[in-house]
């Protein structure tokens, strides 16, 4: 009867089921109450960057060569900064908001007394932060269309790619959510992890400007791979190394989510 029990491995495969959906729906219902103000907050800042830099700097810079093709600076910037917006929106949601639900409001604890396990809760948070990124990106895309920055039909492909970018950054952020003791911890993440990527991933200027070593390193940054996938689509071209960049996205998401899951299980001693 009383055999010695051994706690299951933290690294066991995720136990996934459709149970994530009511948790996702819960977040959606809360957000629906605040959607309009949050929309303004989510897209106002990226648009200011775009307009100020794109038109201001664009007038000085003129055109920039991407794979030998000259493109207007505003298009160069728009295609990079939309990836940055996906990154920021997903990270913010999977850090501050997820931490509120997990630690401050104890929403997760309430959910875990129902037939919804921790793995499903974390999956719901992953997809939810991805959805928030997609929402922000969609709003910005619509403004870009209205401004006539790009009317490339391949933008339709960029849209699901940007969802994947959001999910990837949400997976990475959930690792830090699992480790956080308080909100202050996330400031380090934003300044030490996200800000460097902003400047090293070819969002504002071509990576060719970087010293060779930094350039080689920046090949492996998640945001670089996102930009390399999305930018050609804005120019209505297929990315040159779509498979490689796509694999980096998928691999980063998978590994990051697995690590986040193990650390979150440890946090909940599950």
């Amino acid at each position: 009867m009383s055999e010695r029990m051994r706690p299951p491995s933290l690294w066991r495969p995720p136990e996934l089921s459709r149970a994530w959906w009511p948790v996702f729906l819960r977040n959606l219902l809360v957000w629906r109450k605040l959607a309009i103000p949050s929309l303004v907050g989510n897209i106002a800042e990226p648009l200011m960057w775009l307009v100020a830099f794109g038109y201001g700097m664009g007038a000085l810079v003129g055109h920039i060569a991407v794979d030998g093709t000259p493109v207007p600076y505003i298009l160069f910037l728009a295609s990079g900064s939309i990836c940055m917006s996906a990154m920021n929106a997903a990270s913010f949601e999977a850090l501050y908001s997820a931490f509120s639900r997990m630690h401050v409001q104890k929403t997760w604890e309430g959910i875990m007394n129902t037939p919804v396990g921790l793995d499903s809760v974390l999956l719901a948070e992953l997809l939810w932060a991805g959805f928030k990124a997609l929402f922000t990106v969609t709003a910005i895309l619509l403004v870009m269309l209205a401004l006539g920055i790009s009317h490339a039909p391949k933008l339709l492909v960029a849209w699901p790619v940007l969802l994947c970018v959001g999910v990837m950054f949400s997976a990475i952020a959930l690792i830090f959510n699992a480790l956080a003791k308080g909100y202050d911890f996330f400031t380090y993440y934003f300044t030490l992890v996200l800000t460097p990527q902003m400047f090293l991933s070819g969002v504002f200027f071509p990576r060719e400007q970087l010293p060779p070593l930094v350039h080689a390193l920046s090949d492996w940054l998640p945001l670089t791979n996102a930009v390399e996938l999305v930018r050609p689509l804005f120019m209505d071209r297929w990315p040159e190394h779509a498979l490689r960049h796509g694999l980096v996205l998928v691999a980063t998401t998978t590994v990051a989510f697995w690590v986040a899951l193990a650390l979150t299980r440890r946090r909940f001693k599950a």
Binding site: P22, V30, G110, M112, K269
Partner: protein, 319 residues
Amino acid sequence: MSDISTSTPLLRVDGLCKSYGSTRVVDGVSFAIAPGECLGVIGPNGAGKTTTIRMCLGLTVPDAGSIDYRMPGAGGPLSMPRDALAIKRHLGVVSQFDTLDPDFNCAENLRVYGRYFGIARAVLDQRIPQLLEFSALGHKAGAKPAELSGGMKRRLSLARALVNAPSLLLLDEPTTGLDPQARHLMWERLQRLVQGGTSILLTTHFMDEAERLCARLIVLDHGRKIAEGAPRALIAEHLEREVVEVYGAGAQALQHDARLARLAERVEVSGETVFFYTRDAHPLLDALLERPDLRTLHRPANLEDLFLKLTGRQIREDA
């Protein structure tokens, strides 16, 4: 106890152990709950109550022991933590601290929670008004938790725990922090549930709550079960029938008064008060008439006396 051995228990816990580092928090605890029974778990802070509940909920993995459920409608025996999700379908939980959703009103809180159990919309449409009515929150359906009093929040937590019509309710200190009116209302609702056939596992350190609600009690201390039985039976087994409390300036000296000590089976001191435990208090009360400067209180022995006898009077602040 005989009903436990004859009918199949809803929950049977056997030889449960849990250590954190070198500290044994739960040490070989066994108990069972029959269908329709309210079992109380009492013990001082750090006795292992919450850890025991967490293991029954599958939130903490025990080092040893078994936790088996037999829920009506669950189709066969289920075991924690292996069948955690299947078991939770039939459990209702009110945790020590409210985990209500601050962004939703009362009705929305119940609906969102019901969805986690996969309950159909039509069933929820019917059940939510009933649950709000039951928890005396019918007039607060549209209010958010921040607008509710402490008692209302606890009752909303109770209503939420009932949304899946559970076979067993686990309540971890359900009335801690409530004022007397709110506590009485909570007790009244819990009694109604027991009368309706819901089984309850309750932890508390309010002895009046345990005595009022629980058909049977187990007493935990330092992770071990040190007593088990019906409240009145436990009192009769461990204590003298009557208690005389004496307090006031100079009361403490009475513990050394040989004449008074002869009239009581047991004398204890706590702070400024001397407790005389006796089978018949009248000779003692007559003797105390000579000391009109002291105040006396004569009462039957209660669960609190039992609790203090079993677990001692020293303060436990290490929880």
